[in-house]
Amino acid sequence: MIEPASLTQDAAVDNRDAFEVGPGVEELVWARGLRKTFGDFTAVDGIDISVRRGEAFGFLGPNGAGKSSTMRMIGAVSPATEGRLRILGRDPVTDGPAIRARLGVVPQTDNLDQELTVRENLLIYGRYFGIPRAQIRARAAELLDFVQLTERADDLVEPLSGGMKRRLTIARSLINEPEMLLLDEPTTGLDPQARHALWDRLFRLKQRGVTLVLTTHYMDEAEQLCDRLVVMDKGRIAAEGSPAELIGTYSTREVLELRFPAGENEAHAGGLADLADRIEVLPDRLLLYTDDGDAAATAVVERGLHPASVLVRRSSLEDVFLRLTGRSLVD
């Protein structure tokens, strides 16, 4: 069995510290021993992160894991309590404005300017970056088109639907043509069509060389978008790797899902333990982790058990997440 990354991490930090004085040229985010506390509470508990130029990097984690707190530190709006942090090669303590000038930020909760129209939101935001008006006007028109809000351009923001506001926030984050885009749960609240459209756009931005850093609760989003991701839990990094690596390391090839009538799931778990590498008991089903799901399914039936449903599927990030955090993501 492979050691969880968090156990080996401390040793690795010491090792690296001996050689590293700062980020490499292509490391847009470089954090070592990054901590954030609010009073007595530790939200981010000494994490190491490296995000390379052009990469799509994801934070996956349950509520309260410290994803947003980390994102705000990377966005140079929240000072780190401890640890070393370089963003775009610079120190956010001294170079906050210069760093923020080259970032695009989509915060978890929309903070659009409610007193302005859709278009004015983009215009004034561009001005905050010191971009000339004529240039912003052209970009605003393109961006409104991009997020399909051209028809609402001259409406006030307030009455827009939640999804529309989200799209406008995303358009706003692009007004300064950022080198790196920080997206805190970008597609929460979007309908499936808008989500897919956004993934497509993000993918194209990435092809143009824009670095993406995002947090998400959606496994499919993480699998679609992220080259590399970390699973965060209780302020720490529990695992790190590409989606495929994580699945390879923390899960089996296949999963057998069994549903017994309500209340019986737990009781059956013990009798089936030998059929799988590992068993997870969820309130509504049992998950049997094994490299050969069909064989396990046959064995279950041979033991005279008759689950209400039987499903064999490939492992996903969801399983990795469950293994590492002991929680399933509710989506």
């Binding site: 001294t94 404005p97 300017d113 302005l116 935001y125 001005r127």
Partner: protein, 288 residues
């Protein structure tokens, strides 16, 4: 969409001497100084909002005008003349008008820097969005204060024009009443901003009223300081609006002496303190 690929390569800073000492400086200094260019962007934002709501702006002008008409002209007809603390007998309307001008500068600034800022801070989350751009908390504080001053300047100028039309201006010194009102606005806007940063809920704004109303009524607005017993005179002389009113009154009536320098100093110090505290508090509130 034409999002071009990023141009500048990122240069790794390395732990140079300059890098270290500037880090040290930033850690020692409470916060970066505001930049005039960046602060002006917040003014631009407010102009954009008021382009639609310019009628709202007018309301700030009518209030002092109504006071002037009712108290100045109405009561003035009954009172006749009043002897100022400088010992000069002047027409009551001439006495009250500059006080109303100064009070309205205070009112406008306080309203802008308390209710408006509180709303933007707690509900609209405006500054959270703004601080994700190159603007910093001190730019926000400077920008909002500047905006309050611009409105104040507009009101003061129109009010002075009305006074002129009513024959209530006695001296060329009166021109300086406009910058004087801007100074009053600055002092109160900055302190208002600082106070707002401590407010937890709308109920706390009762305190604002509690501070503003007595000042308006008792700071030699309607009668000279000599009316009070000695001890109370000292209390009144400690309040900021007293200095604002005396400053504007001496300019508009042309009864000018060195005491105006004291009034100016009081207001400058008050504004500077307010701005420093307000910027710091904004930074702690927003940069969590």
């Amino acid at each position: 969409m034409s999002l071009s690929p990023p141009l500048q390569p990122t240069v790794s800073p390395g732990p140079t001497r300059a890098g270290l000492s500037s880090t040290l400086l930033a850690r020692v200094l409470p916060m970066p100084l505001p930049s005039a260019r960046r602060a002006s962007l917040l003014v631009e934002r407010n102009l954009l909002v008021y382009r639609r709501g310019w009628l709202l702006i007018l309301s700030g002008f009518f209030e002092p005008l109504f006071y002037l008409l009712s108290i100045g002209i109405g009561i003035g007809a009954l009172v006749g003349t009043v002897t100022t603390d400088a010992g000069v007998a002047i027409d009551y309307t001439v006495f009250v008008a500059p006080a109303l001008m100064a009070s309205s500068a205070m009112n406008g600034a306080v309203y802008d820097s308390t209710f408006n800022i509180f709303f933007k801070l707690k509900y609209a989350k405006l500054y959270d969005a703004v601080l994700a751009t190159p603007l910093s908390a001190s730019d926000v504080a400077a920008g909002e204060t500047t905006w309050a001053l611009m409105r104040g300047a507009l009101y003061s100028t129109t009010f002075l024009a009305v006074m002129l039309a009513l024959g209530l201006v006695e001296s060329w010194w009166a021109i300086l009443a406009i910058p004087a009102c801007i100074l009053i606005g600055f002092a109160f806007a900055a302190v208002g901003l600082a106070a707002t940063s401590f407010m937890k809920s709308w109920q706390n704004f009762e305190f604002v009223q509690l501070a503003i109303l007595p000042m308006f009524l008792f700071s030699t607005t309607f009668y000279p300081l000599s009316v009070y017993p000695e001890a109370l005179q000292v209390v009144v002389q400690c309040t900021p609006l007293y200095h604002g009113i005396e400053l504007v009154r001496s300019l508009v009536t042309g009864i000018v002496d060195a005491s105006i320098l004291g009034h100016v100093l009081y207001l400058v110090v008050m504004g500077a303190l307010g701005l420093i505290i307000g910027s710091k508090r904004l930074a702690t509130l927003l940069l969590k």
